[in-house]
Amino acid sequence: METLTISELDATSTDPGAPAWDSVPSVTVPLVPVPIDAQPNAYIRVAWKDRGYGSTPAASMALARSGENLLVRLSWEASGPPMGEFPDACAVFFPQGPGPEDPGTMGSHAEPVTVWHWRDRSDVQQALPAARHLVASGPGVFHPATDARDLAANAAFDGTRWSVVVSGPATALAPGGRVAVAVWDGTNDERAGIGAVSATWTAVTA
């Protein structure tokens, strides 16, 4: 299991281009497609069994703590500029308790995971929050968290690469906890359980 050291930051800025991030260690998280057999219903399994998805190979992840806040910076190579019906998106998963063995399941009803979900709003969805606090109990089986907290987020797209910072309460990450990430390629209509997710959990050390 890859290990990532969490850094302390003075700034609380969610600017993904802030110089402070240069000194924060990051790891490259290999991503794999969420298995088709794990998709939550027959429609999605039938509709996507012959379509490629989840081809984003990896994402870079860095974690920082600033006071009561946890900041997660994700960066990945996009397949192209944002276009089409579905937005590019990413998420960070925090298991509640030990969590499922495979992060690709995005939790289960028995072992739900906390999700910080960001999606591109550069189209027309400006009224939406920058990021949402959700609970996942399966691939794409997302619900608003009953104790949903406001998240802050900022994103930058340089023509080929997304860089996103999501900030929320540090309590999301349990001591000695672990995290996983997911990336959705909107130009390939990816959303819900159709996307790329961490092949393994990433352990976090202080």
Binding site: N41, A42, V46, E85, F86, L128, L134, G140, R191
Partner: protein
């Protein structure tokens, strides 16, 4: 792996399934049903292009454009992949150059037109191919087809939703969505073979006809049915053997589902259109051939359409010969309120104080808190936000 495929909860001939019958022989394409729905339900942000109720000319590409070829539904018990209609497929919701024409000093050298926003939405609209129809002179033909969510017995949209936001209400079979749970994945839009689910691009949730359930719960018929000036929309429990819906569908078998082959068990039924005879090249009447090709009607309503049309003709013949027909009397609708079964309450008689509206609309399967937006209307009629819970006024209590 958790399979969320939905169990069938209502059969269309069992008590507890609300259904509607549209008599296409009486539909004049006036769009009053469409506007009644629009005014009531889809006037908020992100709903400008949405028409939960729409009337299209047949044959035609319809709304969304080419919907009949977009897939979805059930095939041999398995869900069939479908295409998610885009905003361009629906079209509409246009922004116009009002500023330029009205206030920009260009009123004499330009005209009002939709502003092309580059997303294709100005190249189609809800009723784009109105009255084009099919055939060629002198045998051109068309008819109108009102469409809304079919509140299907086997709703593939419900089973395609990964978040479980959609459900089929047990008590009346209405298919609803909890917008607080909907994550905007839009698999429902792909899976629905009738393509009557729209996407709110501002709020990032899918939306569709809710069969005016808050009205039904107050004993009021859905707006599309109650406002129809042609008296052609029947509402009722499909399992009530004494009700017109059951009798038209199951007893007389003159009301048929649209595209039954989609496999979802739609609960909106249609009395198919009769048509005048074709004309020969010398303009003499060909009494053996109806103007609307029977094979076209079969492509919409299935092979039972021929028997349904035969029944209609036989009953008309019987009446012409001096007999009586309970079926035709039903379709004529001598008494307007006979259309609505138990839902005959006049909405103008309801307690519409803000406090009452808050109770009535405070909880809703569409997920919007109407309590927060309740406010009085001028003249004492309260509403629950723009367009919600409101009906055009003034109007007489009877005979709308």
């Amino acid at each position: 792996m958790t399979d969320r495929t939905t169990a069938v909860t209502n059969q269309s001939d069992e008590p507890g399934q609300l259904a509607m019958v549209f008599d296409l022989n009486k539909c004049m394409g006036c769009q009053t049903c469409s506007v009644a729905c629009k005014v009531l339900w889809t006037q908020e942000e992100g709903e400008d292009h949405q028409w939960w109720m729409s009337v299209n000319t047949q044959p035609g590409l319809g709304t969304p454009k080419g919907w009949e070829e977009m897939g979805g539904g059930w095939v041999d018990g398995e869900p069939a992949p479908g295409h998610q209609p885009t905003r361009a497929d629906f079209g509409g919701g246009w922004k116009f150059n009002h500023q330029e024409v009205m206030f920009g000093g260009r009123g004499r050298d330009t005209h009002l037109h939709p502003v092309d926003t580059g997303d294709g939405t100005t190249r189609w609209g809800m009723n784009w191919d109105e009255d084009q129809g099919g055939g060629t002179y002198p045998n051109a033909y068309y008819f109108y087809l009102p469409r809304l969510c079919n509140h299907c017995t086997h709703p593939v949209c419900v089973s395609a939703c990964p978040s479980g936001a959609m459900y089929k209400r047990h008590e009346d079979g209405i298919v609803l969505r909890d917008e607080t749970v909907c994550q905007g994945a839009r698999f429902c839009m792909e899976a629905c073979p009738y393509k009557k689910i729209s996407f709110n691009y501002v709020r990032a949730v899918a939306q569709h006809c809710i069969m005016c359930f808050p009205r039904l719960e107050a004993g009021v018929a859905p707006a599309c049915a109650r406002q129809c000036p042609g008296r052609l929309v029947f509402v009722g429990d499909a399992g009530d053997p004494a009700g017109p819906v059951h009798r038209l569908v199951h007893e007389w078998k003159v009301a048929l589902p649209l595209h039954e082959e989609f496999g979802t068990g739609p609960n909106i039924f249609y009395v198919p259109p009769l048509s005048p005879y074709r004309l020969h090249d010398d303009f003499s009447i060909d009494e053996d051939t109806p103007r609307i090709p029977p094979e076209y009607l079969e492509s919409l309503f299935g092979p039972r359409v021929h028997a349904a049309l035969d029944t209609l003709r036989e009953e008309m013949e019987r009446v012409r010969a001096g007999g009586t027909s309970e079926m035709l009397d039903t379709l004529i609708v001598y008494r307007w309120q006979d259309l609505f079964g138990q839902y005959t309450t006049d909405p103008s008689t309801l307690d519409r104080t803000p406090e009452r509206v808050a109770v009535e609309f405070g909880r809703t399967a569409t997920g919007r808190s109407r309590v927060e937006t309740a406010s009085p209307l001028p003249g004492g009629g309260p509403t629950t936000g723009p367009g919600h819970g409101r009906e055009p006024r003034p109007r007489p209590p009877e005979g709308e």
